[in-house]
Amino acid sequence: MIRLEKRPQPSRAWSYATPVLAVVITMIAGGILFAFLGKDPFLAIKTIFYDPLLGEFAWYYRGQLLVKAGPLILIAIGLSLGFRAGIWNIGAEGQYIMGAIFGAAVGLAFYPMEARWLIFPLMVIAGALGGFLWAMIPAILKTRFNTNEILVSLLLVYVAEQFLASMALGALRNPEGSGFPGSRNLQQYPAAANTELIAGTGMHWGVVAAFIAVIAAYVLLKRHMLGYQIRLTGESPRAARFAGVRPNLLIIFCMGISGALAGLAGLFEVAGPAGQISIDFNSGYGFTAIIVAFLGRLHPVGILLAGLLLALTYIGGEAAQANLGLPAAAIQAFQGMLLFFLLAVDVLTNYRIRLRRTEAA
């Protein structure tokens, strides 16, 4: 009979090994899934994980890697701070949308002025503010009325989606777009465009912001009192209160930071790769970032690596879609499986497996 025995402390070695193990198991299970869909599993896995990095057309895909990883990392870093403290902001998708709307609205308000030094920084601030304010709704409801932040932040995603549609069809619609929904293309407005910084790398300001966020989060958690309080609250809320942590302030801080970072990600996306506010602007980064945060073990460096890996599944998935006719939904299911397997093998971190005969209880 297999028994689990709780470890006195989570195993360090396993906490590094489990994400890798989870990825390997997901590749195997994903291969089986692809085989059921009538595709060659080895070719599919190679198309997703190998070709975009080292294959024949890698020069094209490599640039895409940072474009996709940037927003994922930026959002996941914010989420991880809250998750560590047991504060569950799962509405990053909504905050991402609101950041994009706020930022784009500021940029479009200045059209066609050319003062980039003024307009772009203002857009960045507006984007962060949009996400921040949207995250403050669940945060304040939580601290003031003790309302469940999971449900409120998630329900606000649907509200934000409707708001996005109304903006794309109404206030932010391109006046020269002959009535089509969607805003002006910010890519074609130099003062507001989030351009590629180094040609061919996919490096734009959002990616820079993501790297800064990784470093800042690392310093915060390692060296700062606030980071200590976050970790303490996650591990023992009661002890944290005795140590003088003010839980409400921590909720406001964690929700606010994650909202602002998600808003930034939205702004950089709308001013860069996406280009315009449109009805289907959001593409689920806010939800995939949850997987990124967990796969990265809520650790800044881990999130950096996990973000790159999930970005790879996005572009590899697109390649597999084009070359093998693998349905887009297969990649979505694949990403979901990854989180499942990660959570399953995580048991090895916290428990020891013992083989032993059953005794009469």
Partner: protein, 310 residues
């Protein structure tokens, strides 16, 4: 705007139809939470049920088989959550989210060949003279079997929790799993059964959406219904009849805003479509703030993993 176009009898009748999917999912989640498990994967199980039911109904031509398949599909998917949280002791919040993300992907994958197809129609059951009653007949007695099934299910869950020994064990497990374990109850198995029941109910709710309410299959068609079901369990403070009221209240808001859209109210459609979500949030706030005190009624072991140390 022409409010006279809104017929109150039709409005109330469609309220019952609009509420049924959420009621089914919420009553299932109520049992799950009563056993001390927080399954945030309702949305994922609902949409999986929606496509399982739709596909089976289209293939066999029988909506009844579709509903059975949807319940089986939802229960099967919920078992991944059950195994992970009960045997692998994973975090319930994270696992529930994983279930939703996976369910959305899986359903899109399964549903590829079913976009734009019409499912076999689900007929109303014949209640004879009752259906011919003025007003009340139209509102209450001209529905399909699932509407009545969902109401019976609420009554059954209520009676189960209140009057049966098994219901008492379920509640004991949810209030204090350590005490229940010490009394010799199989905490893990009780919870697994509860999770499977919740999955089956969510699957039925999803199939009701795709087979009756819409009726069509589109990706992501549940549009947050699973999350609203979770909110309604809190709103109902874990009591079956209050969950019924919550689901019907929500259904009322949905139907009313749809009717106002049709009547041409001078508010953009998008803002009307937001209203069900906003009202759900508002209700959550009222219930969880000081005077509502819903949290006091929550099962004491809700969301905590159980690991028998000896």
């Amino acid at each position: 705007m022409d409010l006279s176009a809104i017929n109150p009898a039709v409005l109330l009748a469609s309220l019952m139809v609009a509420s049924t999917p959420i009621l089914l999912a919420a009553i299932g989640e109520l049992i799950v939470e009563k056993s001390g498990v927080l399954n945030l994967g309702v949305e994922g199980m609902m949409i999986t049920g929606a496509i399982c039911g739709f596909a089976i109904a289209v293939q066999t031509g029988s909506p009844a088989l579709g509903f059975v398949g949807a319940a089986a599909g939802g229960a099967l998917l919920s078992m991944t959550f059950g195994v992970l949280t009960q045997f692998f002791l994973s975090n319930q919040v994270a696992t529930g989210l994983a279930l939703t993300l996976f369910g959305l992907g899986l359903s899109a994958l399964l549903g590829q060949g079913y976009v734009g197809i019409k499912p076999p129609p689900v007929g109303d059951i014949n209640l004879g003279p009752l259906a011919d009653l003025p007003f009340i007949g139209r509102v209450l007695f001209q529905h399909d079997a699932m509407v009545y099934f969902s109401l019976l299910l609420v009554a059954a869950v209520w009676a189960f929790l209140k009057y049966t020994r098994a219901g008492l064990i379920l509640r004991a497990v949810g209030e204090s799993h350590d005490a229940a374990h010490a009394l010799g109850y199989k905490v893990v198995w009780v919870r697994l059964m509860a999770i499977a029941f919740g999955g089956a109910c969510a699957g039925l709710g999803g199939a009701y959406l795709s087979l009756v309410r819409v009726p069509q299959w589109t990706e992501g068609m549940t549009a947050g219904a699973g999350w609203i079901a979770l909110a309604i369990v809190v709103f109902g403070s874990w009591k079956p009849w209050r969950v019924l009221i919550g689901a019907y209240l929500f259904g009322g808001v949905t139907v009313l805003q749809l009717n106002l859209q049709a009547a041409g109210l001078a508010v953009p459609v998008e803002y009307l479509s937001m209203s069900p979500y906003l009202i759900t949030i508002l209700v959550l706030v009222i219930m969880s703030s000081g005077r509502g005190r819903a949290a006091l009624n929550a099962p004491a072991s809700l969301g905590r993993s159980f690991h028998a140390s000896s």
